[in-house]
């Protein structure tokens, strides 16, 4: 194996137009080698186009991209030798059986007939598809097709695996299975580039996240960094009941930016009410204001903003530009 490049992906200024729409509009992306990188963004943000471009399926109109050190346009063949792709829509051949899908892939990757069958057997076992091995893939459930798709992508251990929304539409058990597979692959030294619109998925799985909106990467960092930099930390103030919470919220409204969304209490099972207050003012000040309103605080928790809150803050900012 040749020298490991420092970055699995280095892309700069990528532009891709489809007719009048700019799917990518100057996208820059650095994905460090090894680990999971999550591309996070709403539908239509350009995540899938980014993956297709990096996997040599479409060419950029301008800009450059190198995958594992190889240019995706001028050296596409070298890129294809080191990557695997599993698509947003399962890319299995539904007119063939699960086993035939795996053998076909292995044969195309240069395995002998016997090696191909052995590898297929291993993967069928690993992905819990042994019972369905000789049934046509069109009879599989959505979750099974996705598992087969992933298994096909792993016939050979790729240096870089592209997972385009691997768990969209999956039940929780299948989702966890996909996550386990990704972690195991990364444990063996591969890099995974994952696109998702699920924030919890990025939060749990990704070492680094890039937020994509309107064809550009608008923020990058670890999930924690993003949460810290984008949403303020939050004080969760617990009050004895809804009436208290409403009084407190009204008092706190004077502190906040007038354009900020009003605080709304969330009633808990035990009858208490929770107010999530962004720490835009010193905590002591917030507590004083609540106190002055004549309301008793029965509990207090401090936490980081969730990735959801960070993401909403980011895409809102983007919408104003």
């Amino acid at each position: 194996m040749d020298r490991l490049p420092e970055n699995a992906v280095e892309a700069a200024g990528l532009v891709k137009r489809f007719g009048a729409t700019r799917a990518l509009d100057g996208l820059d992306l650095i994905v460090p080698a090894s680990g999971v990188y999550g591309l996070l963004g709403p539908n239509g943000a350009g995540k899938t186009t980014t993956v297709r471009l990096l996997a040599t399926l479409v060419r950029p109109d301008s800009g450059t991209a190198r995958v594992l050190g190889h240019d995706v346009v001028t050296d596409a063949a070298a890129v294809r030798r080191e990557i695997a792709l599993t698509g947003q829509f399962a890319s299995v051949d539904t007119d063939l059986t699960g086993r035939e899908n795996l053998v076909l892939q292995a044969r195309l990757l240069g395995r002998s007939r016997r090696e191909a069958h052995e590898r297929a057997e291993e993967l069928l076992a690993a992905f819990d598809l042994e019972d369905a091995a000789d049934r046509l893939a069109q009879t599989y459930s959505g979750g099974m097709q996705r598992r087969l798709d992933l298994a096909v992508g792993l016939v050979r251990t790729p240096r870089l695996l592209f997972l385009d929304e691997p768990t969209t539409g999956l039940d929780p058990r299948s989702r966890r299975h996909v996550w386990d597979v990704v972690r195991e692959l990364v444990g063996r030294g591969s890099t995974v580039l994952l696109t998702t619109q699920y924030l919890d998925e990025a939060d749990r799985l990704a070492d680094r996240v890039g937020v994509v909106a309107k064809g550009r990467v608008i923020a990058t960092g670890t999930p924690d960094e993003l949460k810290r930099s984008l949403g303020a930390d939050v004080a969760e103030i617990r009050l004895a009941g809804v009436a208290d919470a409403v009084t407190a919220a009204r008092a706190l409204a004077g502190l906040a930016d007038p354009s900020a969304p009003p605080l709304s209490p969330v009633v808990q099972d035990d009858g208490t009410a929770l107010l999530s207050v962004p720490l835009i003012a010193p905590l002591r000040r917030i507590l004083d204001v609540v106190d002055d309103a004549g309301v008793m605080i029965v509990g207090l928790d401090l936490r980081h903003a969730t990735l959801d809150e960070a993401f909403l803050a980011l895409t809102d900012e983007e919408a104003l530009v």
Binding site: A84, G87, D95, L96, L104, G153
Partner: protein, 253 residues
């Protein structure tokens, strides 16, 4: 180059596996030869040649060609379906000879042509067809028809990459196949046709193929009969193979 051959073989095998898994398509390859050969022989035989047995000597090369050529659209249909599914993205992201997907898919359909050809030959023999050219004549005849069918399948492959839906591919190919196969010398001698129709029948490559088939089966073929078919096949390939591969590379890139 060895990978190109190996990759092509994998895709040819894929086509054969699909053929095995979709018996309704195989039914096509069985029913059409049966209908053409048996039905036409007894339907037209008495009127056109005095007896079915006499007519089948003339008809069989025609139904053989027709049965095989009607199978040629399947490669285009497979490619059209592949392009609309995620599976093509996987193939294109693999370190393989990219054209293997097209070349192999079309080559795999040779299996389909051979099933249809065998059926026509066996049915023909059962109802009184007796080729004077013997086994070598029959093998050569089937071989030549398969070569032409492979060349013709590239036309539908181009169509398959241009059309939006499999239905469009079927419809358009039928509109072209119909005059190509029926308006030929497959069923009757062109002598009784009006001049303008005869002019087309004479230059129709399917007529050239049927003429060569009759000569091969009868054991009277000369080089010219066969050469015309090979020239027509080469012409189809020279135009439609590069066009198809160009369309394949262009698609979605």
């Amino acid at each position: 180059m060895t990978t190109a051959v190996a990759d092509t073989r994998v895709f040819a095998r894929r086509t054969l596996l699909k053929l095995r898994h979709t018996p309704e398509q195989a039914a096509d390859a069985i029913l059409i030869p049966f209908l053409f050969t048996v039905l036409f022989t007894y339907l037209f035989g008495g009127a056109l040649a005095g007896s079915p047995r006499a007519y089948v000597q003339y008809l069989l090369p025609g139904t053989l060609v027709m049965a095989i050529l009607l199978m040629t659209v399947y490669g285009g249909l497979t490619l059209n379906t592949d392009m609309s599914r995620g599976v093509v993205d996987r193939f294109r992201s693999l370190p393989i000879w990219q054209a293997a997907h097209v070349v192999g898919t079309l080559l795999g359909d040779v299996g389909r042509y051979l099933v249809a050809a065998s059926l026509v030959v066996l049915l023909g023999l059962a109802i009184g067809w007796r080729p004077d050219g013997g086994l070598p004549g029959v093998v050569a005849g089937v071989g030549l028809a398969v070569v032409f069918a492979y060349a013709l399948s590239w036309v539908w492959a181009s169509l398959g990459l241009l059309a939006r839906t499999p239905q469009a591919v079927s419809m358009l190919s039928f509109l072209i196949q119909f005059p190509l196969t029926f308006v030929s010398n497959a069923f009757v001698e062109p002598e009784t046709m009006p001049g303008w129709l005869q002019a087309w029948v004479d230059v129709n490559p399917v007529s050239l193929l049927v003429t060569a088939e009759r000569a091969l089966f009868a054991g009277t073929a000369d080089v010219v009969d066969v050469a015309w078919v090979l020239v027509a096949s080469a012409g189809l390939l020279a135009v439609f193979a590069p066009l198809t591969l160009h369309l394949y590379r262009r698609r979605s890139a």
